[in-house]
Symmetry: C2
Subunit: 222 residues, 2 copies
Amino acid sequence: MGGQKEKDELFDALVEAARVLGNGRRAQLIDVLAQGERSVEELAAEIHQSMANTSQHLQRLLRAGLACSRRSGTRIYYSLASPAVERLWRSLRETAEAHTGELDGLVRAYVGDRADLSTITRDELLLRLRQGDVVVLDVRPQPEYAAGHIPGALSVPLPDVKSRLREVPQGSEIVAYCRGPYCVYADEAVRLLTGDGRRAVRLEDGFPEWKAAGLPIEHSGR
Amino acid sequence: MGGQKEKDELFDALVEAARVLGNGRRAQLIDVLAQGERSVEELAAEIHQSMANTSQHLQRLLRAGLACSRRSGTRIYYSLASPAVERLWRSLRETAEAHTGELDGLVRAYVGDRADLSTITRDELLLRLRQGDVVVLDVRPQPEYAAGHIPGALSVPLPDVKSRLREVPQGSEIVAYCRGPYCVYADEAVRLLTGDGRRAVRLEDGFPEWKAAGLPIEHSGR
DNA sequence: TTCTTATTCAAGTAGGTACTTGAATAAGAA
DNA sequence: TTCTTATTCAAGTACCTACTTGAATAAGAA
């Protein structure tokens, strides 16, 4: 039977995941890794940090058991250890939404004003997909699409949306999706599309939430 | 539309709750506050820290919006800001259980070997309560019982269990509960009771989980 | 073998965190 | 008013964290 020292050590261990998640750069890494595995180089570019620093963050995730890595030739691919990590990240975001007073301002500073964009829920999209009167665009980077996407979605990474506008069938409504509620890719895509006269909406939250809801997924290998 | 600086600031804000929860002492505070409001002095005694240090931890919880405080005379009572905080704390524990390899050892070092103790689930207890053939003991400190407890439970704080053994009706089985899975009060109580020849089991997890499940609660003011 | 490239390691720095000690508030009691 | 008590504030210290820079690995290509 332990005393205070043992209790302190136990609780320190219980919060280790929070200590690791408690850094904006690592949270961005988790947000990207929730889409599927990525190499260190790609991840460093995503979060705009040096390779060395990104590597150190990733090793911290590894040591805490929140991520795994596998070697493939000269590259090392990292991925999340389990759905529990995604759940914790979602739970953390929800707490922030409920309790951080200044969050709205920070969201607006990053994603801009979303009032002009309409959204569609997962359930609505499912219904529309069954009716077949909707085109779904996955506007995340290609490797994330390859690691898993909504069945039938077209991969049109945000930088290509403008130049590939005519590939997108006319007439039917367009639903764009990306990484989740704090990703701006789908917002941008919807603005470009509506600016071109199309009817486009964004899927509220993104692919990880679709997957977490147990909905069907399509892969295209790597 | 923001760039990386705005994204960094947003994600730093999103993880603020994790930074605050990412400390064993503050986690212990949250574990106690999940039972109901307490004064700074009581909390300092609970976590075996100085008043000044405890006060600083509490203010950190306050600033992050995870806790609230109210003054009553010369005392200041802290409480959790919302059920979302408890959910985050539970989610964090679950992640640790899934991913921290050495957790089992730390649990055993603090709570000892639980193999000899039998537990009962909430649902089983509900059933037994309806049948009326069970005595429920709340072995948490008195103020926590006062702030809310399982209906019909007797308040017998752990230090009193030994001396008040004969108050507990003979014959029927005894169920002891406390703060949650990482609290040792119910374990200790069950060991004392079975050592005295009674049939006693512990409720798996504790009062906050009972409350979170939406089950009925009884108060006795303060 | 040598060269290239992705990743990690090692050392250093600036700033943050957890705790201590002792003084300052602020409410109630005498 | 003065005294008491719970809480907070302020300043100091030891340790930890995030990042940088440059060197070391380790796999594959030439």
